[in-house]
């Protein structure tokens, strides 16, 4: 049975069968906004930011593990988009192009942050309130497991981390991950398998 159809996706994540039509609409909407922006409608750029800011902000946070760095990188991503949108030729979907810019911006930030490391990471503000079904202790344990997983993702090497975040956290299809990263589909799958093995070994008994 297809788990994608059974589980559905949370807000902001993509990939469920029910969302494919919405994604198709989204692609068309993105293209229309891009054309409007090129025609001089600056508000169309704001619409593009509002449509994608949640996904880009979360991608950056999972890549970097620091809320302020994630905010900076996400804003950098949209500034680069603003500067480059005139040359965008629709050879890929706008969202694919946007993700690619965001991933590269995060990689640059990771390279520079190796030189100047923050002493303590800035903590995020989460979108979802605590579940009413969980006791405070259970809620605390859940948060601790999430922090463990985030630390394990951050411990992965950069290419593994990118694939895990795009596929397992953000829920993008293998094909889209392949387009964003420029890796062959088989390479994406084999690298992801190795990354998951490493994560499972790292988190053994803690999930």
């Amino acid at each position: 049975m297809d788990r994608k159809t059974q589980e559905g996706r949370k807000n902001g994540r993509v990939g469920s069968a029910g969302e494919s039509e919405a994604r198709g609409d989204g692609v068309r909407n993105d293209a229309a906004l891009v054309e409007r922006f090129r025609g001089g409608d600056i508000a169309a750029f704001d619409a593009l930011v509002l449509r994608h800011q949640e996904k880009i902000m979360n991608l950056c946070f999972r890549m970097l593990g620091d809320y302020e760095d994630a905010k900076d990188c996400a804003q950098d991503t949209f500034i680069k988009v603003y500067r480059s949108l005139g040359g965008f030729r629709f050879e890929s979907a706008f969202s694919t192009w946007l993700y690619r810019i965001a991933v590269n911006t995060c990689k640059n930030r990771l390279a520079s942050s190796r030189k100047r490391k923050r002493l303590t990471a800035t903590q995020p503000e989460f979108a979802d309130p605590p579940s009413p079904l969980l006791t405070p202790e259970e809620e605390m344990e859940k948060r601790e497991r999430e922090r463990e997983l985030q630390r394990a993702i951050e411990a992965l090497r950069e290419d593994f981390r990118t694939l895990v975040v795009l596929r397992d956290v953000e829920g993008l299809s293998y094909e889209e991950v392949s387009r964003i990263t420029g890796l062959a589909l088989g390479t994406v799958k084999s690298k992801l398998a190795r990354a998951r093995d490493r994560l499972r070994a790292d988190l053994k008994g803690r999930l």
Binding site: D2, R3, K4, G12, R62, A74, Y82, E125, D168, R200
Partner: protein, 323 residues
């Protein structure tokens, strides 16, 4: 199906990417194999945990921050554009032409201002003129020096003649040599051999009328300009090897004006650092006298030059016969 094969298909199984036949075979194996069930459960827990990671909230000022940074970036680019834009484009042609004319006028006025920087050609012409004027002064000061040193009546008489000039005439002469810099250092080199080639006086040279008067006076018993010129050339090469240069040499006209012995003179400039060594080498050629104390080659003189006015005089040793 083997465990190894089932575990390699675990991701595709969880992704729902297996065809029905393969999926049925995997599930049949999982019902029988506890180890593979544990592995698959671990993989599923990881997947669920990754997919359920909480979403971070987008800051409320996110879009405003993007706008602010775009504005800042645009302002910075405009700021640089002011500097990078060619001046000719921003200035009307008339304004640019007026500016060029004003700069040219200021430059010309500045050249004519005393003490201003001169172009090399103009500087060289001024230097030559000053050298010519100082050449006349050389003869006068050299005569004064000789008279003071030897107290010879005829020389003293010539000195008196110079001193007897009207004040206005003397000051006029001084004015012609007055310059912004210090007076050249006057050096008199008294040679007992006129030529470096031989050890005796050159007899072929005819003494000039001025030389005859000098001989009769007894202070400078003989001057022989032609052989002294050979010494002058030697002196010039010494100056050059010390890093200096000869500005002008002369042996004519000097005596006509001052009625001196027709000395050979050399006006030269020398690096301050070389002055002491040069004077030592000069002393090897003959007796030297300097008009004033020789400045020490201090470190503060590094890069400076001294102007020298060297006067060559031939005086044979006592008791020798020059003729």
């Amino acid at each position: 199906m083997e465990c190894r094969r089932v575990r390699s298909l675990a991701d595709d199984y969880l992704d729902g990417a297996l065809d029905e036949t393969t999926r049925n075979r995997v599930e049949a194996h999982l019902e029988e194999c506890e180890g593979c069930r544990i592995e698959l459960d671990a993989a599923r827990r990881y997947r669920d945990a990754a997919r359920d990671l909480p979403r971070v909230k987008v800051p409320s000022d996110f879009l405003a921050g993007v706008h602010d940074r775009l504005d800042d970036e645009t302002a910075r680019r405009k700021g640089w554009a002011i500097f990078s834009k060619p001046l000719a484009i921003t200035l009307p042609f008339g304004v640019a032409a007026a500016a060029v004319a004003a700069f040219a006028l200021i430059f010309v006025l500045d050249l004519n201002r005393p003490g201003s920087v001169k172009p090399p050609e103009r500087e060289a012409a001024l230097e030559l003129q000053a050298a010519r004027e100082e050449k006349r002064e050389t003869a006068e000061s050299a005569v004064r020096f000789e008279n003071g040193g030897k107290k010879s009546p005829p020389a003293a008489g010539r000195a008196e003649e110079i001193r007897a000039k009207s004040p206005s005439e003397t000051s006029k002469d001084r004015d012609t040599t007055a310059g912004p810099g210090p007076e050249p250092l006057a050096i008199t080199l008294v040679l007992d051999r006129p030529s470096p080639a031989d050890g005796t006086a050159t007899t072929s040279a005819e003494p000039s009328p001025e030389a005859g008067r000098a001989k009769g006076a007894g202070t400078v018993r003989a001057t022989e300009p032609e052989p002294l010129r050979a010494r002058r050339d030697e002196l010039a090469s010494m100056i050059a090897s010390a890093g200096g240069r000869v500005i002008e040499t002369g042996d004519e006209g000097v005596s006509e004006r001052t009625h001196a012995e027709g000395p050979v003179t050399v006006l030269a400039v020398l690096p301050a650092s070389e002055l002491s060594g040069f004077l030592d080498r000069l002393a090897e050629l003959g007796q030297t006298r300097t008009e004033r104390a020789v400045p020490l080659p201090e470190s503060t003189n590094a890069g400076k030059t001294y102007e020298l006015r060297i006067r060559l005089i031939y005086r044979p040793p006592e008791g020798s016969d020059t003729r």
